[in-house]
């Protein structure tokens, strides 16, 4: 929000006489701590069906296909190299993060780098103490939300029926690393709080 909006809010607050500034601040804090609710899983299916019926995704697929065809020879070579990566061809269905990736990051592709990062984040996460039994509701909701989002990505990455281009796969891995980072930061802060 800009300075004008901040000024407007101050004026707004001065106009509200029903609560003191402290009371209003306390109320806002309590409201923000109210837990969030996840929508049922079938909502995405309904959205996807409507989007497909309206042709929103279909148009995109055609457009992307055109982009692939107009790609340069160099891009095609890179694509073939990526497609030939053994780690992608032999990725086990039940394990998302391959364990046999090289550790020399200079030799890694972007996708491999993301996989290594993901594996390291999982290792860091495992090294943290177990979750405290008493947690703030908002923290529980946030952790649960992050875990659900990671699980949804894992499902896509592991489902043999889901056909992905290398670009898609990289996109999913990038998002997985980002979410794992958020989860690690949250769990780390939680562990620090529990220690004091």
């Amino acid at each position: 929000m800009g300075h004008d909006e901040t000024g407007n809010r101050q004026e707004d607050d001065e106009m509200i006489c029903a609560l003191t500034a402290n009371e209003q601040s306390l109320l806002q804090q309590k409201l923000r701590e109210l837990p969030e609710t996840m929508p049922p899983r079938e909502v995405w299916n309904r959205i996807r069906e409507q989007a497909e019926a309206e042709g929103i995704f279909k148009r995109a697929t055609a457009s992307r296909r055109r982009m692939w065809f107009v790609g340069s020879g160099l891009a095609a070579t890179v694509l073939l190299a990526v497609l030939n990566l053994t780690l992608m061809q032999t990725q086990p269905e039940s394990v998302v993060v391959p364990q046999n990736l090289p550790t020399n990051t200079a030799a890694l592709t972007t996708l491999q780098t993301l996989m290594v990062q993901s594996r390291e984040l999982e290792r860091d996460l495992r090294s943290l103490p177990t979750e405290p039994r008493v947690m703030r509701a908002s923290t529980v909701a946030t952790i649960s939300d992050l875990e659900d989002r990671i699980a949804a990505i894992d499902y896509q990455l592991n489902d043999p029926d889901v056909k992905m281009t290398p670009g898609d796969r990289e996109l999913f891995w990038r998002e997985r690393v980002r979410l794992m980072n958020s989860l690690l930061q949250l769990r780390y802060a939680q562990a620090q709080r529990a220690a004091f």
């Binding site: 707004d12 029903a18 009371e23 996840m38 929508p39 909502v43 309904r46 989007a51 996109l171 998002e175």
Partner: protein
């Protein structure tokens, strides 16, 4: 600011979504579904209505994301769409009942409030969630937009097609209804023997 602001999406994913990539859209949905659903549920109180609004919101996101220029955060943009859809729903509900925005305080009688476990006495244990749910729709929406989402009264007035005074008046009335809850919270945090200020 609400949780919308905490969610970051890789610009590459937004770009892919703008090209209509279904997987990029799914990532965006997974990231924002919970805050969108929560705000819709907060406004409508009915899960089925909230689910419909989530669907309408994300379909709108899919249709419009190619026009999203990234000047504001993606979360703020999606939040505005969700709020707009939720307010549109409330407006249609009021219209169906033949009511105007201003008079839905009549829906909430003292008896109805107490029946839901919320009374006006400060020494009663009250749940903020229940108290909020028992506010009239429009007042609840104003409280949420102002105190959680950080909208100004001018912005709320614009969204609701009303004046700033209307928004301020709704908030003030809602505060009066919610104030007893704060007494409880203060009493819980006061050390033994401390004087609790009365209002």
């Amino acid at each position: 600011m609400s949780k919308f602001a905490d969610i970051q999406i890789d610009p590459a994913i937004v770009k892919r979504a703008a090209q209509g990539d279904s997987r990029a859209h799914e990532i965006i949905y997974r990231a924002f579904a919970t805050p969108v659903y929560s705000i819709c549920l907060r406004f409508t109180k009915v899960p089925a209505h909230a689910e419909d609004l989530v669907q309408e919101t994300f379909i709108e996101v899919m249709r419009s994301i190619a026009r999203f220029r990234g000047e504001a955060a993606l979360g703020s943009w999606i939040r505005r769409i969700a709020v707009s859809k939720a307010l549109m729903f409330l407006r249609s509900a009021w219209t169906k009942r033949g009511q105007s925005l201003a008079d839905d305080w009549h829906d909430v009688t003292e008896g109805a409030v107490q029946a839901h476990g919320v009374s006006g006495r400060p020494d009663d244990a009250m749940d903020l969630d229940a108290a909020l749910a028992n506010l009239p729709d429009v007042a609840r929406a104003v409280v949420w937009l102002h105190d959680v989402e950080g909208f100004t009264h001018k912005e709320i007035a614009g969204l609701m097609g009303k004046t700033e005074s209307f928004s301020k008046s709704q908030l003030s009335r809602a505060y009066m209804r919610l104030r007893p809850m704060l007494e409880d919270a203060r009493q819980e945090t006061q050390p033994e023997g401390a004087v609790v200020r009365s209002y």
